[in-house]
């Protein structure tokens, strides 16, 4: 196992990482985007995957979520090889993805979006349970329960996407560019919620272009450049590396 995987593992954890990418290569058609990345998300930890636009971060999330099959390498969940597993199967076992952008059904209401979660996972309490759990955590959504999701603000849409993911009680959460198109204060509020979720024991992989937004809550971080992870470690260790990752050199 490579040094980078070891470094992204939390050494205090004796269990298998919740999610692990080992030597993953991935391509769109004939164009290879990931060139053998190694990344581990320890159980209950927040790992930030950082890098400039086009570095391959979202592709890494797609591979982890089962949306894109790797051309080589493996994806492991809780120590079990799940390479090639379908995205809906991974979602069903608790690997939940919030994709880049809004990730909600714009022409369904807030309640209907939440109900969609019951179609994917066995949710305690059914539809009523879903609403109770979601609205307890996000009271703002309760006020807009009958509103079309497409008419919510960007921050509320991300809250809805988070709520829909959390009602399924996931074990691993994959967040792709949570801050995209949102005001800094909204981003801060969302990452406070993410930190709270992490404290509940959910393992989280956050992909972010804007490093400062996520480094405050991350336990580990990795920097991605041109489809390769060039550096991994604790957020404090990576401070000086970030500028070169984004600006080159």
């Amino acid at each position: 196992m490579s040094e980078l995987v070891e470094r992204t593992r939390n050494t205090s954890e004796l269990v298998e990482p919740a999610l692990e990418l080992c030597g993953v290569h991935a391509a769109y058609g004939g164009i290879e985007v990931l060139h053998g990345i190694d990344l581990a998300v320890p159980a209950g930890a927040v790992v930030a995957l950082l890098g400039a636009n086009g570095a391959g971060k979202s592709t890494a999330v797609k591979v982890a979520a089962g949306l894109l099959a790797p051309t080589s390498g493996s994806v492991r969940v809780a120590g079990h090889d799940v390479t090639g597993a379908a995205a809906h199967d991974l979602a069903r076992i608790g690997v939940c993805t919030i994709p880049e952008g809004r990730g909600v059904f714009p022409n369904l209401t807030v309640r209907e979006n939440l109900w969609m979660a019951t179609q994917v996972a066995a949710v305690t309490g059914g539809v009523a349970g879903v609403e109770r759990v979601a609205f307890e955590r996000f009271p703002q959504l309760a006020e807009r329960r009958s509103q079309l999701a497409g008419t919510l603000s960007g921050g509320e849409q991300q809250m809805l996407a988070l709520a829909r993911a959390l009602v399924t009680d996931p074990a691993v959460l994959l967040l792709d560019e949570l801050s995209m198109g949102l005001a800094p204060i909204v981003v801060q509020r969302l990452y406070e919620i993410v930190a709270q979720v992490a404290r509940e024991g959910i393992s989280i992989l956050v992909v972010e272009q804007f490093a400062q937004a996520v480094l405050g809550i991350a336990d580990r971080a990795a920097i991605m450049v041109n489809g390769e992870i060039t550096r991994a470690g604790s957020p404090s260790e990576l401070g000086s590396e970030l500028s070169s990752a984004y600006l080159g050199g």
């Binding site: 269990v15 298998e16 919740a18 159980a43 209950g44 099959a69 790797p70 051309t71 969940v77 809780a78 120590g79 079990h80 090889d81 799940v82 390479t83 090639g84 597993a85 379908a86 199967d89 991974l90 069903r92 076992i93 608790g94 690997v95 809004r102 059904f105 714009p106 022409n107 079309l148 497409g150 008419t151 009680d169 074990a171 691993v172 024991g201 959910i202 393992s203």
Partner: protein, 122 residues
Amino acid sequence: MNDRMERLGADAAQLNVSRGPERDGWWQAAGVVAMAAGVVVAFVAYQLSRNMSDPRDISSMLILSVSMLALAVVGAAVFLRYSFARFLRFWLLRQLMEDHAHIDRLVASIDNGRVPQSQDHP
């Protein structure tokens, strides 16, 4: 290890993982091969049966021919199944994108305080 990880580990162990990045592509190819092979072999077997005199040989050839026709039908069904899966996924994505764009236009119009002009009903 917390409950979540225990559950995740147990569920991941039971996950039915099918290998290969292009499963649909393989099934499509298998369907085409079965379809083509079925038609060709059925035709050849039928033609051979016409030049035979022993009724038992003719029966064997006709059975082979009918079996190959069945294989061609199954191959066509497999090909259609996986072709449609790919097409329908694309169609669903396109539908979602169009819905996004439509709602964006509506919201923008509401924000601007005007009703959008429909091109279908001038």
